[in-house]
């Protein structure tokens, strides 16, 4: 019999199933009739014969069910189960809503977080074969990830034997001329082969070519897809058009793909060809580029790293003046892009998983309680002929139905939650993590959601099914078994609630540690008073600000104009704001010291005379710059405390001279020592820094710092307008307050995001686990009403009943807390490296969480305890 013919016949059977059932019924009645006749012939009475025949025939309903199982379509019974399951849920809407809500929260949170994990860690980066790409840095004594110089890049490119191509890029802020005036535009400057190294082809127009780099050719740039849409309305005729970047006409030759991003240089609208602009390309000490390279087939990462280290060491020997102590450093591109975010994402995903388990356990507890209540129903159905497998299938159907409904709602919730989470991340920071914005429900996310829902569904269905065994089914008809099965459930439910409480503890500890760490981070000593400081950045391009006197004049004009603004107490300037990336460093020599083997490198800023007093930084010794310390006076410098202790150990640096040049020319005298103003990120170690007077070292880029008497943010629009009044051609960028800069700094933002997310998870976990505990205790009390009645009838005091119930809850809580604290310590490794100035085993956090959970748990068990204590013994004994 072929499969096809049987299937066709099966469908025919299915179509005529009503007639077929009638026929079967008639056939069996006929059979019973004949059996009856036979037995009567053997001498039984009519009634006895009918009874014996029916007995011999067996369970009529079950027989029909079995026949239907043979001939019926599989989906028919599934539909029955499903209809029954829906009816069950509708009969008890409170239960249905609670379970679906709890589970939706759990699944929604997990799916939302997973969509970020998917976008960042699972989906490949939008390059050809991204695992073969590496980022190249120069490593200096200050740290490993610093820029390389153009000449070093050329040598690395020419001498290496391990890369099929090596190109450079540098994040770059351009001044874009627009009809509305100059504005800053984010961009990057890249060498001609940059996109070919990545394996990215423009969707429109052409790639950058080596010929574009030649001085006599017009400058060229590619547009990012987003910038093409936003700035140029997605017009195809943009190709060949010219824009003015930094005063240079630049031809747009192409548009990059929509999903292209390159986080190390983002945000970037314009990807312009790298073109030598001044002396930097001829100076090995001028570092302004990062390398990106593709490994040759078959070359391992370690071999490539060794090769460029060899080249860098050779260069250090060959050019000791500029390259001493400069080593090569290399990271896989994926590591460079995702290295910082990976531990955070994994931590948050772990949090979501814990929350999901708590939610699932909670729902399972509710289901188990319901199973207890449905024992009689199951027993009746079993007695009426439902086979065991059919009963279990009913549970499976109900469990899967719950999980499926929650899964669908969870996915919907997740897409909303993902948007909300993205808003939690400051815009500037999100721009540097473009892959996160591409978090969207794709196949992987749906597969994850389906897998999670299915696992939850099976968990829910098998738990109650395991509880119902055939022998118990029969007993279920008798009331007497209620007590014993109640005990079994109570034990099982208690174990689950311990697990829930433990996970809540782990989440609470995680959230607590991150919050404490965030607090420490935001209140760490940054060497200044950050409130009432307004900041904005001014770039002066074009040829009216090429010379030093013009630049000094501009600074004076800006100061005069800005200090006229109401609410401004003082106006100061610097070239690089504090709390940045800590870059902008320089090497130096100490005049009068033999040229030793040490390479000295510190951050380097040019500031106005009142910069430190405006920041309210502290003068350690010496003096601030004078207002008139200009080009005609002795060259001076202020150094910070770190630089003083690091490079002048046991000496007084005041009066000493330092120089940028190896031969000690253009020496500057140290006139003051300032406390360490944090130039890098909040969690960065203190670094040496030197400050030069702007008047002696002017430039055409100024960061303005205003100390205000009123809230600083109120002043920002007026300050921007005032700058434009001085010269409409000036580009004003990023007006912000110092407090915002502090709070939105990458380190603080990462901390805050993870603290918020984990905090939200922990809150939900606390509520769910406490509700779970309440459920277990309340159920236990309801099952023990009779026992309590007996105790009280025998003279037990209400207070001892209180104690009994509270002790039961207390033991569960204690076990949960202990297990959770141990779990937190075990999880310390996961969170440890994210913490600032807090240990993962921070005692005060652990104790606080323990107390919080204990108090919440006691409150939750107080209600059932009171109910137990108010049991009326006569009624309780009567009722049973």
């Amino acid at each position: 019999m072929s499969w096809l013919a049987r299937t066709i016949r099966k469908f025919a059977f299915f179509a005529g199933r009503d007639r077929r059932n009638r026929e079967l019924e008639e056939e069996m009645a006929f059979h019973r009739g004949l059996s009856e006749q036979e037995m009567m012939a053997e001498g039984l009475s009519a009634d006895d014969a009918r009874y014996a025949a029916a007995r011999q025939f067996g369970n009529d309903a079950r027989l029909r069910d079995e026949s239907a199982g043979i001939t019926g379509l599989w989906c028919e019974t599934v539909l029955h189960d499903l209809r029954f399951a829906v009816r069950q849920l509708r009969r008890n809407p409170g239960f249905a809503v609670t379970t679906i809500l709890v589970l939706t929260l759990g699944i929604g949170a997990a799916v939302a977080i997973f969509s970020f994990v998917d976008a960042a860690l699972i989906r490949p980066l939008p390059y050809q074969n991204p695992s073969r790409l590496a980022i190249l840095y120069e490593s200096i004594p200050l740290g490993p990830r610093f820029h390389l110089s153009y000449l070093d890049y050329l040598d690395w490119k020419a001498q290496n034997t391990v890369f099929s191509s090596l190109d450079v890029y540098a994040p770059f802020g351009f001044i874009l001329e627009t009809p509305a005036g100059s504005q800053q535009a984010d961009g990057a400057s890249v060498s001609a082969g940059f996109f070919r190294t990545l394996g990215v082809t423009p969707v429109l127009g052409r790639d950058l070519q080596p010929s574009d780099q030649q001085q006599n050719q017009p400058r060229t740039a590619l547009l990012s897809y987003a910038a093409w849409q936003r700035r140029f309305g997605g017009r195809r005729d943009i190709l060949g058009q010219s824009v003015t970047l930094d005063g240079n006409p630049t031809t747009i030759v192409g548009v990059l793909p929509r999903d292209f991003h390159f986080a190390p240089a983002e945000p970037a609208d314009f990807w312009a060809i790298e073109r030598s602009s001044g002396g930097c390309e001829k100076n090995r000490g001028c570092h302004d580029l990062f390398g990106v390279a593709r490994l040759k087939p078959g070359v391992t990462f370690a071999a490539a790293f060794a090769d460029i280290r060899r080249i860098a060491d050779n260069l250090a020997r060959e050019y000791p003046d500029s390259n001493r102590d400069q080593k090569a450093f290399m990271l896989p591109l994926t590591e460079a892009i995702l290295g910082d975010i990976r531990p955070i994402l994994l931590l948050v995903l772990t949090g979501a998983a814990l929350l999901l388990v708590i939610a699932a356990v909670n729902v399972a507890s509710l289901l188990l309680v319901r199973t207890e209540r449905r024992r009689r129903e199951m027993a009746v159905r079993g007695a009426l002929g439902a086979s065991r497998i059919r009963l279990i299938r009913q549970f499976v159907t109900e469990g899967l139905l719950l999980a499926l409904a929650s899964g669908l709602l969870g996915v919907a919730l997740a897409s909303g939650a993902a948007d909300l989470l993205l808003h939690l991340v400051p815009k500037d920071m999100l721009a540097t993590m473009p892959y996160l914005e591409q978090a969207r429900p794709d196949a992987a996310v749906f597969a994850f959601a389906a897998a999670v829902s299915l696992a939850a569904g099976l968990f829910f269905s098998l738990l109650p099914a395991l509880r119902i065994s055939l022998s118990e089914l029969r007993e279920g008809l008798a009331e007497a078994t209620r007590g014993s099965s109640g005990t079994v459930w109570r034990r099982f439910g208690s174990n689950l609630v311990i697990l829930e409480l433990a996970m809540a503890v782990v989440l609470l500890v995680g959230a607590g540690l991150l919050s404490k760490s965030l607090y420490r981070l935001l209140h760490t000593d940054i060497g200044m008073v950050p409130d009432h400081l307004a900041l904005l950045q001014v770039a002066a391009t074009g040829h009216s600000y090429d010379t030093a006197p013009q630049q000094v004049a501009l600074e004076r004009k800006l100061e005069a104009r800005l200090s006229m603004l109401p609410g401004v107490r003082s106006v100061a300037f610097t070239t690089t704001l504090p709390l940045g990336d800590g870059d902008g460093t320089t090497g130096f020599t100490i005049v009068g010291m033999p040229p030793d083997k040490v390479h000295r490198e510190v951050a380097f800023r040019r500031v106005s005379a009142n910069y430190f007093s405006t920041l309210q930084a502290r003068l350690v010794s010496g003096r601030w710059f004078a207002e008139d310390e200009g080009a005609t006076r002795q060259r001076v410098v202020i150094i910070n405390q770190q630089m003083a202790t690091q490079y002048f150990p046991g000496q007084n640096p005041l009066g000493r001279q330092i120089s940028f040049d190896a031969d000690g020319k253009n020496a500057m005298q140290i006139v003051g020592i300032v406390n360490d103003v944090q130039e890098g990120q909040l969690d960065a170690a203190p670094r040496g820094a030197m400050y030069l007077p702007f008047l002696q070292n002017p430039g055409n880029f100024l960061a303005v710092v205003l100390r205000t008497t009123q809230p600083a943010d109120a002043l920002l629009p007026a300050a921007s307008a005032a700058v434009h009044q001085v010269d409409p051609g000036l580009a004003v960028d990023r007006p912000i307050t110092m407090t915002e800069r502090l709070h939105d700094s990458p380190s603080a933002s990462l901390h805050r995001c993870s603290a918020w997310i984990l905090g939200a998870f922990a809150t939900l976990a606390l509520v769910l686990s406490v509700v779970g505990l309440y459920g277990v205790i309340a159920y236990s009390v309801s099952q023990r009403t009779r026992e309590i009645g007996v105790r009280m009838a025998l003279g037990a005091q209400r207070s001892s009943v209180y104690r009994m119930i509270l002790r039961e809850a207390g033991i569960l809580t204690l076990l949960g807390i202990l297990l959770g604290l141990m779990g937190s310590l075990a999880a310390a490794g996961l969170i440890g490296k994210l913490l600032f100035d807090v240990h993962a085993w921070d005692a005060s956090t652990l104790v606080t969480v323990g107390i919080l959970l204990a108090v919440a748990a006691m409150l939750a068990s107080f209600l059932p305890a009171r109910r137990a204590a108010s049991v009326n013994p006569t009624e309780a004994l009567h009722a049973e």
């Binding site: 016949r9 099966k10 069996m28 027989l63």
Partner: protein, 113 residues
Amino acid sequence: MVSSMAKRPDLLPGTLDMLILKTLSRGSMHGYGIALSIKRQSDDVLTVEEGSLYPALQRLLLQGWVKGEWKMTETNRRARYYTLTAAGRRQLGLELTQFEQMIAAIGRVLQDA
């Protein structure tokens, strides 16, 4: 539940279909007749319980090995008579061969011991 009432040895699993097919090879019969025939032929050793007979008949119908027809009995009552089909006859031959091979194999094993 039904099986717990049986005191006689259970049928070897899988042999019921074969017994039904063999019984029907002697002519068409209704369900009660099949049960009765098996009981008599086996000298009351094999009792086909109604609980397994009708699901088995449904299964055979579905496989196309038997076909059912409603006819009147001698006592003028409506009953479904089952008849072996050509496919059913082939199947019976197949099952008999397999069964004989198995019995022979079991016999050999028991003789050895």
